[in-house]
């Protein structure tokens, strides 16, 4: 018997998303983007990003979505078949999810937990922006359901200063053909309301902010459509950069522009560390984001330092 609390916790039941539904959501995204972007650009960007959700697996429970992705790739290669670029693996719950380093990630029913398989066809300078692209997609999706979300470098999505989503991006080389994949793991606190004690002050779910549960499948479609645009934009800008010469000119990379519009990091006083929770390194004030996504900070002695790897916490 499903209790009221369980139904609340899990929203409207298990997640159920199909590739066709994501494709339809992309059409909605297309119309909506045309209000601010040129139609031809939107069409091209979404065509580039159309691989997202080309195949979708929905599971009631998995140990880890990333592990399932690795097994899927290996099994497909073993069977002599190709992996659909953009395959998305979703699960209602994850039993052994983990964050970066040796951090655990709490993934009970009600959250959006999954992994996108991306065959790495991006140039290195674009590939380094994948993390930012995922953050942009999630932040836009959260804003679209009426919540004032913001981005903290690299891709933490914050609401009221608390984290509503986490991402883990790992490269993976397929066992037989050594093809390189980006496994983009995502965890978004949608309808889950209970967090481990150590996360009570720093984590938040969308349902807690809204005061009502969200249709998790609808939110998943929205997020994946936004992800189509953000990842498509990486390819589109790559093409533009190559066409115009070596770079993106004075306008800069448009994904970075999107990121800056959603972020409150620039100007903030922060503590930086590679693993900031365990080994905080130094305090600084963020002065900007470099053209390749690095965090530009001014230390207390007035010296500027740009970091391309690590984490920050606001002070």
């Amino acid at each position: 018997m499903v209790t009221t609390m369980e139904a609340w916790e899990s929203g409207r039941g298990g997640i159920d998303v199909t590739a066709a539904e994501v494709s339809r959501q992309r059409h909605i995204e297309d119309r909506s983007r045309r209000q601010a972007w040129a139609a031809a650009e939107v069409e091209s960007i979404l065509r580039y990003g159309a691989f997202v959700g080309s195949a979708i697996e929905c599971h009631p429970v998995l140990d880890r979505a990333m592990e399932r992705a690795r097994m899927h790739i290996a099994a497909m290669e073993q069977a002599g078949r190709s992996v659909y670029n953009g395959t998305v693996i979703l699960a209602d719950r994850l039993h052994r999810s983990k964050g970066r380093f040796d951090r655990t990630w709490h993934a009970p029913a009600g959250g959006l937990w999954g992994c996108l398989l991306h065959v790495n066809t991006l140039l290195p300078q674009s590939r380094n922006l994948i993390s930012l692209a995922v953050g942009v997609a999630c932040c836009e999706a959260v804003r679209e359901v009426g919540i004032a979300a913001e981005l903290r470098w690299v891709n933490d999505v914050l609401v009221e200063g608390r984290k509503v989503a986490g991402f883990l991006i790992e490269s993976f080389f397929s066992p037989r053909y050594r093809e390189e994949y980006n496994l983009i793991g995502f965890g978004i606190n949608v309808n889950n309301r209970q967090f481990p004690h150590e996360l009570l002050d720093t984590a938040l779910s969308l349902t807690e902010v809204l005061g009502r549960p969200l249709d998790i499948s609808a939110f998943a479609r929205l997020f994946l459509a936004k992800l189509s645009f953000a990842l498509g934009l990486l390819y589109y800008e790559e093409e533009r950069g190559l066409h115009d010469g070596d770079g993106w000119g004075e306008d800069g990379h448009r994904l970075l522009r999107c990121w800056r519009e959603l972020s409150t990091t620039v100007g903030r006083r922060v503590i930086f560390g590679f693993d900031v929770m365990k080994v905080p390194q130094y305090e600084a004030t963020v002065s900007g984001i470099s053209g390749s996504g690095g965090l530009v900070m001014v230390l207390d002695d007035g010296c500027e330092k740009t970091e391309y790897s690590g984490e920050i916490r606001y002070i």
Binding site: I130, S131, E170, F172, F274, Y308
Partner: protein, 222 residues
């Protein structure tokens, strides 16, 4: 990996010329304007977090975007291609040489690099040991940990994207670790120095010999 090493020859080389000659090459295409001249002393980055940049060596301008390039090592500009002043250069073009005075530790490392297999950074990024390797190191110490080709040995972290790094050299023990977790490593710089277990005595001999020569002769350089 060399099996034998002529200590006298190598040590005599470092005694007579205790310097590294570091080539400075154009970081990318562009027009070069030098900011130093031959004979100028240059400083490496400093500060607790290496936040204080080194001496500016040159400015390179590409598409009206000027970039200052600073020294990564201290020393003296021993050679400069002044004919390139104001000229367009290709990426990788040699611009100058910095003569860097070696310390005892650097001399030992330089000699060891001739006998160790150096596993180098594929990209400029931060690196940390793979969890399995880290736990073996914590239990037994790095010099007791053997790694084999194909083994996932490190994780490369760049813009919150983690890439497993598989070891590609000869199997052996991790003798030298050249990176610090949380500190960026430049592309091509060594991450690990690996040696076959049977060569550990040779390595030890090198260290003892250089230290002894250093102590008895009070060093090779100022």
């Amino acid at each position: 990996m060399a099996n034998e090493i002529d200590f006298d020859e190598i040590l005599s080389k470092y005694r007579s010329d205790p310097f590294d000659y570091v080539e400075v090459c154009a970081t990318h295409t562009g027009i070069v304007r030098f900011r130093v001249g031959e004979g100028d002393a240059v400083e490496a980055p400093s500060g607790e977090w290496q936040q204080i940049p080194g001496t500016v060596l040159y400015q390179i301008t590409r598409e009206r975007n000027p970039k200052l390039v600073a020294a990564r090592t201290n020393g003296v500009v021993s050679e400069i291609r002044s004919e390139l002043e104001g000229q367009f250069v290709e990426a990788g073009e040699k611009l100058m040489i910095i003569r860097h005075p070696l310390k005892k530790k650097e001399i030992i490392e330089n000699i060891l690099k001739e006998v160790l297999y150096l596993f180098r950074a594929p990209e400029r990024a931060k690196y940390y040991f793979a969890l399995d390797v880290q736990s073996r190191i914590e239990k037994k110490g790095a010099k007791a940990v053997t790694i084999e080709a194909g083994e996932e040995v490190l994780t490369m972290s760049l813009m919150k994207r983690d890439t497993p790094i598989y070891y590609t050299g000869e199997g052996g023990v991790i003798h030298s670790v050249y990176f610090t977790p949380g500190v960026s490593v430049n592309q091509g710089d060594p991450l690990l120095g690996i040696c076959a277990p049977e060569k550990l005595p040779l390595i030890q001999k090198i260290i003892i010999r250089v230290k002894a020569d250093w102590d008895s002769e009070q060093g090779f350089s100022a």
